[in-house]
Amino acid sequence: MTDSALPMTVADSATSAPRKLVLDKKRVRSRYAAERRFRAYGIAAIAFGLFFLAWLFVTLILQGYGALQQSKMRLDVTLDAATVAPGGQVDDNALRTADYTALLRTALRTTLGVGSDRGERRDAYALLSNGADTELRNRVLADPSLIGKTVSVWVSAAADVDTLIKGQISRDLPENQRRLNDRQIAWTDKLVADGRLEKRFNTALFVNGASSDPEQAGMGVAIIGSLYMMLVVLLTALPVGVAAAVYLEEFAPRNRWTDLIEVNINNLAAVPSIVFGLLGLAIFLNFFGMPRSAPVVGGLVLALMTLPVVIIATRASIKAVPPSIREAALGVGASKMQVITHHVVPLALPGILTGTIIGMARALGETAPLLLIGMVAFVVATPATPFDPATALPVQIYMWAGASERAFVERTSAAILILLVFLIVMNAAAVVLRRRFERRW
């Protein structure tokens, strides 16, 4: 309100009493102070946001970087032909079903010098991952000529060993509060000293599917599931959204019906995502009978969710194309269709793509609509097509966050980092597209 009292701005009001043209110093000072305060509020708001962002990143990275490495054990396994391929049969089935666990356990016993005491053996076997046999099996399947030889293999150690080596469980605790007893810790130390136990890059984290054993669990299925879903979203939401927006913007008459449609599209953009999950369950699963847990259904549900965003973004960028372009094209004899396909849509494309990518980035982080269509699930096998069961990145984070094993804590953070990398890549793509293709008039 102080603004209106300023001598310079009231110069036009002839009726008011004449005022001093000399500036009131006190007043000027208070106005500058007010402006400085106003700026400080803005800086404080940004600092507040940045502080929490930095906090998030620092804690995630500190907690999650450990998951990039996994403790592996080097064992000299004798691939005894009688166990791996009984009767000299080297067919796929025999190689698949052979008892690799027994071979690994024998190798471990020899390395540690474990006797025949059952308790001692059980303790020793607990150092080895439950999935180590699969790792050895894959090695043999890839190269059957190894049979009969003694090979040195790196296999995963159990998650308890891993957390001990990473220092996530203190060794100073009383024995009954630890997952590993004194004997097991002594063995672990011996293996480390012999160079048989070390941290190596955790490929499983990026390749494997779900597993009950943290050391074998990975984001592979979730990454592929999310990629399939994004593909489906792109292939459905973009063309449908663009078609709807072009019609509404270029052809539709302005009347009560189109107003109603417009209001509804804007409302749909704000509908909670779980509602789209219910819709997906009713339409895609119950009515069309599509498979449960399939990324194609998840993608369609997310496409429905993204559609209003695409329509709104497309309409805005079509509106931003200057009328002179349309008129010039019509003036040289182009048809309405040519005006749209040759001029309006190509010029609006950067805006359309930016809107779509941002909508997809939001869809990538959704779990609620996926719950009802069965994608919040434990899926081991990598999906070959979008019709095979899969999970999604945020779902995997949610499931790991609830797991009881300590080793899942760092994996949860690592999974969040992977999701963030995806989001950053998508948003960066949106920025690049805009920078590169945007035209200003």
């Binding site: 699969t134 069309f288 847990s293 259904v297 396909t341 434990f378 609830g402 009881s404």
Partner: protein, 344 residues
């Protein structure tokens, strides 16, 4: 041109998607339900996939809760519906009705073992030697005071029993939507309240149940609707608090929490399996009999789950914290499944 190609492309894609969805036959077992059973179902599914590698696909196990799983299960039969519902409680009569109405007439019930429910507190706090009545007196909204029910006056464990540590009362109990809450009410609160003469004096069964189960709302007992991870985080923030956990969760986090004895018994796999430790419940899954002959591997999966490799005394689910059934019970369960015994 762009618009035309894109639209045409979309329609073709959509039609293809619908057609494929309808035409595809399912060769993979689908399971949904309880999050308590989930870790055990996960390990069974994973090992099943490994053992029958190349023959059957690894089953898909969805999480979401017992009630949601059973609702889904009772939605009908056929490829589009799930084959198995995991449940941390017995199927209710109204759910069986619902199932029958939708054509799921034949349901087989499989008990896989037991789940122990433990009270645990931070390793930094005092040690608790609990009786059900202590928990009742600490948690209930109204407790017997001098011959009548009065709003809960207790704020310190010491006031309840001199043997308990001198610590303010703070409990984190499972929220209403959890199956664990039911067991907590039945095996702890009800067991704890029945001996008081003031409760015995109540003739109306409903009033009696209410007096036992109604929980105080003054903040000393907090309902946790999330999972055990949340309870653990709360306990680390408040080292004087007690939380309710599953035995397996406690065993994985022994360095942070210690367990309280109930009626003098420490919860271990042995004391729970023998029934000495009072707070436990059976875990189930339900199978559609009609699916057994249709979905490849379903019968083998159930048999595999009931094998000693998974639910035996040294089975893999037992390693993850499932309390195994005694051998005769296990043998009977397998026989019942073989005979095709139904829930009625």
């Amino acid at each position: 041109m762009l618009v035309r190609t894109l639209t045409a492309g979309t329609f073709t894609a959509l039609v293809a998607v619908m057609a494929a969805g309808v035409a595809q036959a399912r060769d993979q077992i689908q399971i949904a339900g309880s999050s308590t059973v989930l870790p055990f179902a996960n390990i069974a599914a994973e090992q099943f996939g490994k053992t029958f590698s190349g023959k059957f696909k690894t089953p898909i196990v969805e999480s979401g809760g017992s009630s949601a799983g059973l609702k889904n299960f009772c939605g009908g039969i056929g490829e589009k519906t799930i084959d198995i519902a995991n449940s941390s409680r017995k199927i209710r009569p109204n759910e069986i009705e619902e199932c029958k109405k939708n054509g799921v007439a034949e349901i087989q019930e499989i008990r896989i073992g037991y789940d122990g429910i433990v009270f645990a507190s931070s390793t930094k706090g005092g040690t608790f030697v609990l009786e059900p009545k202590h928990v009742y007196l600490a948690v209930a909204a109204q407790v017997p005071v001098k011959g009548a029910l009065a709003p809960n006056p207790y704020t310190n464990w010491k006031q309840i029993d001199a043997k308990l540590p001198d610590q303010p009362i703070q409990l984190f109990i499972p929220g209403e939507k959890h199956g664990t809450r039911e067991v907590f009410e039945e095996k702890v609160l009800e067991a704890g309240c029945h001996d008081f003469p003031e409760i015995k004096a109540l003739t109306d069964a409903k009033a009696k149940a209410n007096a036992c189960k109604a929980v105080r709302k003054d903040g000393l007992s907090v309902d946790i609707d999330g999972d055990y991870t949340e309870t653990l985080a709360r306990i680390q923030r408040t080292p004087t608090a007690i939380g309710v956990f599953g035995l397996s969760f406690y065993e994985q986090n022994k360095d942070k929490i210690k367990v309280a004895t109930v009626s003098g018994i420490e919860p271990t796999i042995d004391t729970i399996a023998s029934g000495k430790y009072p707070v436990s419940r059976p875990l189930y899954f339900y199978v559609k009999k009609a699916h057994l002959s249709v979905i490849p591997g379903l019968k083998e999966y159930v048999e595999f789950f009931l094998s000693d490799k998974i639910v035996g005394d040294e089975g893999m689910a037992t390693d993850k914290g499932l309390i195994p059934m005694p051998t005769p019970e296990r043998t009977k369960m397998r026989a019942d499944f073989g005979k095709g015994a139904l829930v009625n």
